[in-house]
């Protein structure tokens, strides 16, 4: 990427607009992107690197006069692909460290509430692990507020398939958590 030269003919105002837009997007999407990446199994440091690289790609995309449509799903897709390049980390899976989560859920609750919360999270953890990787990724993107069309763009699947996967995943979770 170093030394890349992108020829274009942009008015100065457009260049400044691009810079401002990239900054705004960074503030809006930095945390969701990092959360999604750690959900995929990256460490926080790796996620941070992938987020940085994704925004670098965005700068290049805008500077080259690339489409400004669906920038949010564009960024998630770049980050998603960037995570796939971290093959070693990608082998880790969401939900590995249940104990800290269950502990965090307990807070200042009574011992009985702690036990109930732990049981609930253990069921949820088991349910999440029963999902396929594709189902889990779709649910994470849905939890980030992406529409089915955007999820499909990130995952590279048709929107109808996205709807089927999300429906199936939610149904699985509901069945396993409804005890």
């Amino acid at each position: 990427m170093s030394g890349d030269s992108i020829s274009l003919s942009l008015p100065l105002s457009r260049f400044a607009t691009d810079a401002y837009e990239a900054t705004t997007l960074f503030q809006e999407l930095r945390k969701p992107l990092a959360r999604y990446l750690t959900g995929l199994g990256l460490s926080p440091e790796e996620a941070q690197d992938v987020v940085q690289d994704s925004f670098l790609q965005l700068h290049k995309h805008l500077a080259a006069g690339g489409s400004r449509d669906n920038i949010r799903s564009w960024l998630f897709r770049v980050a998603h692909n960037g995570a796939r390049n971290c093959q070693q980390s990608y082998a880790r899976r969401m939900g590995e460290s249940l104990e800290p989560i269950a502990g965090a859920a307990s807070g200042e609750a009574s011992p009985e509430q702690v036990v109930l919360a732990k049981e609930r999270f253990e069921r949820l953890n088991a349910a999440v692990h029963s999902l396929s990787e594709q189902e889990r990724q779709c649910l994470m993107l849905r939890a980030e507020g992406l529409r089915y069309r955007e999820i499909g763009e990130v995952m590279g699947i048709p929107v109808s398939t996205t709807a089927d996967i999300v429906s199936r995943a939610v149904n699985k979770l509901a069945e396993k958590c409804d005890v």
Binding site: A19, T23, Q48, Y148, A163, S167, L173, D178
Partner: protein, 186 residues
């Protein structure tokens, strides 16, 4: 199980076409099983989101995760103002532009010929260290029409962490003020 069951999650998410959504809504109002199913799906969705967010919060924070200064959104606007001010100072003599803008530390201004000079062995210094202003005699000797190159550190435009350190844009401006090319230069 109702025939509508496969549409309930998409209906909850507002992803159905309006005519289908109306039918599903009417059905859910009259079907106790589907209402129960919707409640289960909503509960499962909330639980998953809470699980997903909590899992993220249980991760150690990356070093640069919370270093976004409040001024960051305005940085690009400041740079834009500098650039516009620079262009408004553009007189007929390019050498004067250089002397005016050389006082500005960021963005650095490099006045050069339209075709960027190929680095020679004697010019093997990394490009990042070549942000300097040519002397006026060199500029005066150049018969070719001049372009202005502006080195803009990415840190001046984007919040810390948005791009790797040391990355800079080199923008070449045409005499009419339009950006002819932008090089991303770490």
């Amino acid at each position: 199980m109702c025939n509508f069951n496969g549409n309930l999650v998409a209906w909850m998410d507002g992803e159905l076409a309006s005519d289908i959504a109306v039918n599903v809504e009417k059905h859910v109002q009259s079907c106790a099983d589907c209402r129960r199913q919707v409640a289960l799906y909503e509960s499962a969705s909330r639980d998953f989101t809470a699980y997903y967010v909590m899992r993220d919060q249980s991760q150690p924070v990356a070093v640069s995760a919370n270093r976004i200064p409040r001024w960051a959104p305005y940085a690009a606007a400041v740079v834009a103002i500098l650039l516009v001010a620079l262009m408004s100072l553009r007189p007929d003599k390019p050498a004067q532009i250089v002397s005016e803008t050389a006082k500005v530390t960021t963005p650095a201004v490099v006045e050069s010929s339209a075709e960027p000079a190929r680095p020679t062995q004697s010019q093997s210094t990394p490009v990042a260290h070549q942000r300097h202003v040519r002397n006026n005699s060199q500029a005066a000797e150049s018969p070719a029409p001049s372009a202005i190159q502006i080195a803009i550190p990415a840190e001046a435009m984007f919040p810390p962490g948005a791009v790797p350190e040391g990355v800079a844009y080199i923008a070449s401006l045409a005499p009419d003020g339009s950006v002819q090319s932008i090089r991303l230069q770490p």
